[in-house]
């Protein structure tokens, strides 16, 4: 049970995310909700994992545990051999919130700069970085726009750029494209893959879309609800770089069907 803890401090090549026997309970006594129960999984360094499962099964809770926004009732989470709290205090965690959480009074570029300001890095030292990021997420020409002037897809790109500006070790995305139409979603999926491979960060994506999970991830973790348990871990054997063409292949459908089965199997229990 404690094997993940070996050589915690100097295990730098042992990167990635390790979740070991995590339980998360909210509240006490009769009102207690067990959001996660004995959840264990690993994401390789530089890997891409997707979390799927019915509403309320603890997907967002899992991301918050990795980000040290919550602490597990039991079990452990490590990132690159270190505790999430250590990573958070060094601002090495990027998080894309479900409703983007942009600051509406700031322009695109000032939203992206926020993490630099809060970590007291001079933004002039990083200006090249910010403008590169704006290019990376395809928002050139919108630097001065306010979030209210952007489309939903553009807002999520700003949120992704902001999450990346401090070059995080892990990028956590909570249904980042949930509110978008299918076409925009697919385009942003491919962009996210490009950004992820260019930055080399370890990514965990929460999604309700089976095809999104299959298109993006190396491995899809299927959770069941009440309490949240791991139902299945399904490897995605598709070649990288991924393309939309692959979505038409039999391999892709096999993965999607496996995911569907894992989800439905849980619903029938």
């Amino acid at each position: 049970m404690m094997t993940a803890d070996r050589h915690d401090t100097h295990d730098t090549h042992e990167g990635g995310i390790h979740v070991k026997d995590v339980c998360m309970r909210f509240g006490k006594g009769a009102d207690a909700v067990i959001a996660l129960d004995e959840v264990s999984f690993d994401v390789a360094d530089g890997g891409f994992a997707a979390l799927i499962g019915p509403s309320g099964c603890g997907k967002s809770t899992m991301l918050r545990l990795i980000a040290d926004l919550l602490q597990p009732t039991k079990g452990s989470v490590t990132v690159g051999g270190r505790a999430p709290s250590e990573l958070r205090s060094q601002r090495r965690i990027g998080f894309v919130f479900q409703d983007h959480a942009l600051l509406p009074w700031r322009s695109v570029v000032d939203n992206i700069r926020l993490p630099l300001q809060l970590s007291r890095q001079r933004s002039s030292d990083n200006r090249a970085g910010v403008s590169d990021l704006i290019k990376l997420v395809g928002l050139e020409g919108f630097e001065a726009a306010r979030p209210a002037e952007l489309s939903g897809g553009m807002r999520q790109r700003v949120a992704i750029a902001r999450a990346l500006v401090l070059a995080p070790e892990v990028l956590l995305l909570d249904e980042p494209f949930g509110a978008l139409d299918e076409i925009t979603r697919q385009r942003l999926n491919l962009e996210l893959l490009r950004i992820w491979s260019e930055t080399g960060t370890t990514a965990v994506l929460v999604t309700h879309s089976l095809s999104e999970a299959a298109l993006l991830a190396d491995e899809v973790i299927v959770l069941s609800a009440r309490p949240g348990r791991i139902q299945a871990c399904i490897k995605v054997p598709l070649q990288r770089p991924r393309t939309l063409e692959q979505m038409k292949t039999a391999e892709f459908h096999t993965v999607e069907n496996a995911l569907r089965e894992a989800l439905f199997g849980e619903a029938l229990q």
Binding site: D68, L69, R88, F97, A101, L103, L114, P115, L118, A148
Partner: protein
């Protein structure tokens, strides 16, 4: 075009109300203590100099009272932002202050501060304080959960959180509090004058003189002027704060 329509409807309602009022008065179906719009208007033409003579100190005191209350309210709200545990005590104290009957407070203040502007400014400040404080505290403490989590994720200090998240988030509610408080400052000043807190000059003094002298048209004129000033205060505050709303009002 839409703005025009927005203006036309209230104007029509206003004109119709005046017409109904005037004809009810002519038909003798209103009590003798109610003046007609025509009487109020001719009183305005006759007495506008006297009216201005009395309104000016009221307006000036209202303004100072409003500014003093705003400074106190925002100061307290900031203390609560930095020390959330103070929130309940500040709220409790503010509710007590807001529920003190101002009519009774005036004579007490007169004994303490002497008759004059200081009493009027104090009452105006107390009368406008509560909505400002509520607006500022609620604005500073109700930050969207995701944005609060973002600042937590980035290990922001309390100072950074207040300055970069809570203060900008607070603007719409704080401004709403300021708008609501404008009319309160004017009414507060008038209450102070009415209950004898500020000597011979003041709209409230004129109102009470007219009332107890059974001068029905002048009484109604002072009421009308009070209403106009209160509405005016709302619009002036709205106009001045619209800059902040344009900058921070999240759509």
């Amino acid at each position: 075009m839409k703005r025009l329509r927005d203006l036309v409807l209230p104007a029509v309602v206003f004109v119709v109300a005046i017409a109904v009022w005037q004809s009810a008065h002519s038909a003798g179906s209103l009590p003798r203590s109610v003046a007609s719009p025509a009487q109020i208007y001719s009183e305005l033409l006759d007495r506008h100099e006297l009216l201005w003579f009395h309104s000016r100190p009221t307006l000036i005191s209202s303004l100072w009272g409003f500014l003093a209350a705003a400074a106190a309210a925002f100061g307290l709200a900031l203390i609560v932002a930095f020390a959330p545990k103070m929130g309940r005590s500040v709220y409790a104290a503010a509710v007590v202050v807001a529920s003190v009957p101002l009519i009774a407070l005036t004579p007490i203040l007169v004994l303490w501060l002497e008759r004059g502007s200081a009493v009027r400014i104090t009452i105006a400040a107390i009368a406008s304080f509560f909505p400002m404080l509520i607006g500022a505290i609620e604005g500073l403490t109700h930050v969207s959960k995701d944005r609060a989590e973002l600042f937590e994720l980035l290990s922001a200090s309390r100072w950074q959180r207040v300055m970069r998240l809570q203060m900008p988030s607070a603007v719409p509610l704080a401004v709403a509090g300021l708008r609501a408080a404008g009319a309160g400052a004017i009414l507060g000043a008038i209450i102070a004058e009415w209950s004898g807190g500020s000597g011979a000059r003041g709209l409230g003094t004129l109102m009470s003189t007219a009332l107890f002298g059974f001068n029905v048209p002048l009484t109604w004129l002072t009421i009308a002027v009070t209403v106009v000033l209160s509405i005016g205060a709302y619009f002036v505050v709205s106009l001045i704060t619209s800059v902040a709303i344009r900058r921070f009002g999240h759509v």
